[in-house]
Symmetry: C2
DNA sequence: TCGCATTGCTAATCCGATTTAGCAAACCTG
DNA sequence: CAGGTTTGCTAAATCGGATTAGCAATGCGA
């Protein structure tokens, strides 16, 4: 027997004015439309006493704006890593008084279609299309009908949609900089990608861009990577295999692992060969996966800024929403979010 | 310049009928209201051609039902563990064609109030109030206005709200059963809670109930735990300390760690003392935290069924929604979800 | 052939707000 | 003091559906 919600009509009746007047006052347009102080006060008082809150569904129907955005991802909501992305989006949304719908497509285009329809049907003000790991995606058609942003993804074909992605190239440079600053110049090996252009997952933006950053930064210091080992998948066991294979032929001074799981395998291989991190071999990695802080010694790694990515996506989305439709806007801009390094214990000067 | 959405009026016009008729046909009530086959076909055809989809905002305003539920948690969305809870809820919701709002209160009652208001304002059909770890919570007032379910939480005061929680008592029994089946009877120690009633976080449902299950199951086998060490917090370092302290005085045959992080510390302490898992000491734990599968040897643990919890919460919520208001319903039922054991490599027969 | 029931459909209202158009009273102005 | 402005507020339309009440045409029995 829930008491009926208080409506604008109730407020108007108590205040002894019309619904129009009440609406005007409560939307702050009372002044500009010359509502008297007296009436204004009465309406405000009534609204306060009745604890009036506008029904957003109704407002949505009338104005078309629901103060609601959609966060549609392949599977982001469930992975711890990327859960932070949601958190960032959530907080940025809350600051704007906006609610967040979430949906997971599980990579299924049909599901994605249904989900986007469902969001449309609910008149969301905007859509964030997120990917669990950075990659290029085919933008579903019909995305142009509503403001939208790609998160952790780049459009496969040119698109007007803006994108928010981690700055992987700069991350590669950062990893190198950390090693350089520690004094490393020789015996720097890569685990995860080979030095040839082959053997690199082309869909993986991370692989390509991290490598580019690494090459550039090393090049600027007049250095080349001493070698690299590709891995079929960036999982610990492959990191283990690749590092073992490497250690059978040489003694590296530093390892740049392309992600933390590879680093976990690398640690193990180094241990098998009786090599200590970081005294014998420094290790730097990417992602800042939770295990990085569990590892011993704690892993120095260039972090994927998930939280910040989520926030930025919302910021950019609201720029889109606020943009004048007529505004001639360039093709979807790519916003790159810096990847901060988490300096821990796995890098030390060579021979320290 | 997005083309205006197709409305029911458009369909009606194309089909050459009134909006009423179109509505009747499309809501499946055409038959019962004697709409002719001919007209029915015309409406269906028009709707199909125009790709008509009803505007849920409008339906929401008229009927009061938005096919939308809220998932409000303290911080569940961001922790990997509990992210699975969302996933479960998400999938169960999708199967019903329902969308999920998410919100995080960060444990702030004021934020929680605002969030619940915002959900009300959007006319959600129901609310799931979730906690990141199992505990008792004070049910915010105003929760009775809308169907709601407590997830991973029990009401501090008696409440009409149903609750969905993991079956921790049974989990305790399960842990014991695994050890018993492996042949353990002696030297079973507890890491995380002492044997006395003191030193146990009383808010932690897990601690109390797991211990109860353990005691019961051991008791039924005529056994008592050989000892136990409480920890100020269930973190690896305390698990390490507690286990070290234990090992200084005795040699356990099996450890029941109250969660996986404690087990991580215990592993380390055992290693420090030159004891091997599981040959020298079997270890069983709770939670199935991601690290459990990373540990070596892989940790046998009784899993928190996050995914299933999320699903159940939605199921129970829809029972609430479907329940006739007049239906005299008992006080909020507590639904206990079984905690399955993940048998891995850390338990073996004693002396194996 | 009149009266009543049935068939098949539609007009009008409602949900709860916003917004447009407009009205009555007070106020100027020449 | 007629005619135009300004002031201060409200009636009515609108958003897109669901729902209630009702109407015209046909069928049927007497």
């Amino acid at each position: 027997m829930s008491p009926r919600r208080v409506t604008l009509a109730d407020v108007a009746k108590i205040a002894g004015v019309s619904r129009t007047t009440a609406s005007l006052v409560l939307s702050g347009r009372g002044r500009e439309l010359r509502i008297s102080q007296d009436v204004e006060q009465r309406v405000l008082k009534a609204a306060d006493e009745l604890q009036y809150r506008p029904n957003i569904v109704s407002v949505g129907l009338r104005t078309g704006t629901t103060r609601t955005i959609a966060f549609v991802s392949d599977t982001v909501a469930t992975s711890r890593l990327a859960g932070d992305m949601i958190k960032g989006a959530l907080e940025a949304a809350r600051e704007r008084g906006v609610m967040l719908f979430i949906g997971e497509t599980e990579g299924d285009p049909e599901l994605e279609r249904l989900l986007l329809h469902a969001m449309h049907d609910r008149q969301v003000d905007g859509i964030i299309l997120a990917s669990m790991f950075t990659r290029t995606i085919r933008v579903p058609k019909g995305m142009a009908a509503i403001p939208a942003v790609l998160l952790n993804a780049l459009p496969k074909q040119p698109s007007i949609l803006p994108a928010v992605v981690p700055d992987e190239v700069e991350a590669g440079r950062t990893a190198v900089r950390v090693l350089l600053e520690a004094g490393h110049r020789d015996g720097i090996y890569l685990i995860g990608v080979g030095l040839g252009a082959r053997d690199m997952p082309p869909e993986s933006v991370a692989a390509v861009e991290r490598l580019r950053g690494i090459r550039e930064a090393l090049g600027e210091a007049g250095i080349k990577p001493a070698g690299g080992r590709s891995c079929p998948d960036w999982q610990p066991e492959y990191g283990l295999d690749a590092t073992r294979a490497l250690l059978e032929t040489t003694r590296p001074r530093a390892l740049i692992c392309f992600n933390d799981r590879l680093a976990l395998g690398a640690y193990q291989a180094l241990d098998d060969f009786g090599l200590k991190v970081p005294e014998d071999v420094s290790v730097i990695s990417f992602d800042d996966h939770p295990i990085a802080a569990w590892m011993r010694p704690k892993l120095t790694t260039v972090a994927l800024p998930h939280y910040e990515l989520g926030r930025r996506a919302v910021d950019v989305l609201f720029e889109e929403i606020g943009r004048d439709k007529a505004d001639p806007h360039p093709e979807g801009a790519v916003h790159r979010v810096p990847m901060p390094v988490r300096e821990r214990q796995s890098v030390t000067p060579p021979g320290a």
